[in-house]
């Protein structure tokens, strides 16, 4: 039996609350192949970010387990770099230094000083932020900060890139541009990505598979949609593509028909 790259088996998560334990996730099974782009989509509060944090090792699931290349995930590490929703750049460091903080640790014994510098610059170029390498986060726009956040994660050379609503805080135009760039970067680097999103178009445009989660409590995977669209994908061409539209409709159907949440 072939071993999958990233495997979640029967992952459940309960949080302790004053009213007793709250079952957030229950019995989640998911296999992600190397080089695959998977999005987790669901209504807010369904636990998709919790699931991502479990993969990241930031949370410990109460039962079940996560295997990455056959090894159990039980603590955070650079092999599962996270792009946080609010960029989480350290405000007292420049864009370059923020990436350096991550790279210095992961490059120990692998790169010398000059190579580290080159690697940081390479990653800044990848997100087209090399022009602002000496700027602090406060001097950057929201989109630029998120670019640096992505560069920081990529620079750790993760086996899986985890993204927690990476473009959620951005305006629509900036978001679209960064999505296009992410498509290009993922194609260039062959990254395996697990992304949490609440944006249907984003999920369909970027993913190979869209994992749709049911509403909590005890949320689990409702449906998984394979997005059989050829890459590279073009936003404009896809806007009228029948397969894209039907994939989009399937996700909308799930979210607003089968899992409609009383707001």
């Amino acid at each position: 039996m072939s071993q999958s790259f990233l495997e979640l088996s029967l992952v459940s998560m309960a949080f302790k609350t004053r009213q007793g334990p709250f079952q957030a996730l229950s019995g989640i099974n998911l296999r992600v192949d190397k080089g695959e782009f998977v999005s987790l989509i669901g209504h807010s509060g369904c636990g998709k970010s919790t699931l991502l944090n479990i993969i990241a090792g930031l949370y410990h699931c109460t039962s079940g387990g996560v295997l990455l290349e056959g090894r159990e995930v039980n603590q955070p590490g650079p092999d599962r770099a996270v792009v946080f929703q609010n960029h989480s750049l350290l405000p007292w460091l420049t864009a370059y230094e923020n990436i350096e903080l991550a790279v210095k640790k992961t490059s120990q014994g692998k790169r010398n000083k000059a190579q580290i510098r080159e690697w940081i610059l390479h990653n800044l170029k990848l997100v087209q932020m090399d022009h602002a390498m000496n700027k602090r986060p406060e001097e950057l726009s929201g989109g630029m900060k998120q670019r640096v956040g992505i560069a920081r994660a990529l620079a750790m050379e993760p086996k899986v890139l985890l993204m927690d609503e990476p473009f959620g805080a951005l305006d629509a135009l900036t978001r679209a541009r960064l999505q296009d760039e992410l498509l290009r970067i993922v194609a260039d680097t062959g990254s395996t990505v697990v992304m949490v999103t609440h944006d249907v178009d984003e999920a369909v445009l970027l993913s190979d598979r869209v994992v749709m989660m049911t509403n909590g409590p005890a949320a689990t995977i409702g449906e998984i949609l394979n997005v059989n669209l050829a890459r590279p994908r073009e936003r404009l061409a896809l806007a009228t593509d029948a397969r894209y539209l039907s994939a989009r409709k399937a996700v909308l159907e799930f979210l607003y028909h089968k899992q409609l949440k009383a707001a």
Binding site: A56, A81, F84, L90, W92, A102, S141, G142, G143, Q146
Partner: protein, 320 residues
């Protein structure tokens, strides 16, 4: 003399973070606004045709200076005037400023004389006090930040130590002096201990608040990058908590300076506190007034220095 530590958190950090929804269009608008600047500099290069109706630049800067310097000068002059008038009445118990200056001329002009024993110039008196503050405060900084980190980082340390801190910090500085004298059997270390115990509480408490307020995001970044304890301390904890730590340090240095004068009155020897007490015992009221002015100026400078260091160290860390 009761001094309660006010736990002021820096306003910069408590203010909400800027929203992240700034678009890249910011760069475009910046470029647009820069054009008039270019035009203006071109216009300036060409000699202005209508013979300058605007006031010349140097007059403007002079006006700015005046607007900043005049109000405090006028306030001080007014206060001195009122004091002069009030103290010039027949039977006034305090000397007017004119008499203070006349009486203390020798002290003002000769800050560095040394006649042996306690009979030394004001500069030596102040330096002796500053030396004690320096020792006591330095110990307070090291101990205060260490304990603050401990209490801020570990919930169990917080539960164990915080009640003790909360009780001890309300003890007035001078109440520690007899205990210190009993322990050290010497005046100087006792004074230094009083400074330490006065300054340490706001440093501990502000540091622990700063540590506890480190955003979870930064902790998560550190965990993903797998920083070890030492790296986390220097690269995340200290810069993130710096604004809080420095507001504690600022309160601490102010309290030290408040406490030193009182402590020195009791322990004697060279120092501005005992100078004041000695002057009172020999009815040299003018000397007291002069000493108070010096104490005020030195205290102000200490506060400025710590605040300036804080701003330099914490540059960037309070904004997100």
């Amino acid at each position: 003399m009761t001094t309660t530590a006010t736990l002021a958190a820096p306003t910069e950090t408590s203010s909400a973070r800027k929203s992240d929804t700034v678009t890249d269009l910011g760069a475009v608008t910046a470029a647009a606004t820069s054009t008039p600047v270019v035009k203006a500099s071109v216009a300036a290069a060409v000699p202005p045709t209508p013979t300058a109706k605007r006031r010349p630049a140097w007059l403007d800067t002079l006006g700015d200076y005046a607007a900043r310097i005049l109000p405090p000068v006028i306030t001080v002059a007014l206060l001195l005037g009122i004091w002069e008038l009030a103290s010039s009445q027949a039977g006034a118990s305090l000397p007017p400023p004119s008499k203070v200056i006349a009486d203390t001329k020798e002290l003002i002009l000769n800050p560095f004389f040394d006649n042996g024993g306690n009979d030394v110039g004001m500069a030596w008196q102040l330096l002796a006090s500053l030396e004690r503050v320096l020792y006591g405060y330095s110990i307070a900084v090291v101990v205060g930040i260490s304990l603050g980190v401990l209490v801020g980082q570990f919930a169990i340390a917080m539960r164990g130590l915080d009640p003790v801190f909360q009780v001890l910090r309300t003890v007035p500085p001078l109440a520690w002096l007899p205990i210190a004298l009993a322990g050290f059997r010497d005046g100087n270390p006792s004074a230094i201990f009083v400074i330490f115990i006065t300054a340490v509480w706001p440093i501990i408490i502000n540091t622990s608040i700063g540590i506890r307020n480190i955003p979870n995001d930064y902790r998560n970044v550190a965990r993903v990058v797998q920083l070890n304890g030492v790296e986390y301390f220097w690269k995340i904890m200290m810069p993130a908590a710096a604004p809080y730590i420095f507001s504690g340090l600022r309160i601490g240095v102010g309290l030290s300076w408040l406490a030193i004068v009182a402590a020195e009155m009791l322990i004697g020897g060279v120092g501005v506190g005992f100078f004041i007490w000695d002057a009172w015992n020999s009815s040299r009221i003018s000397d007291i007034v002069l000493a108070l002015v010096y104490v005020g100026i030195v205290g102000f400078m200490l506060d400025r220095i710590v605040s300036w260091i804080g701003r330099w160290v914490a540059r960037g860390s309070s904004v997100n």
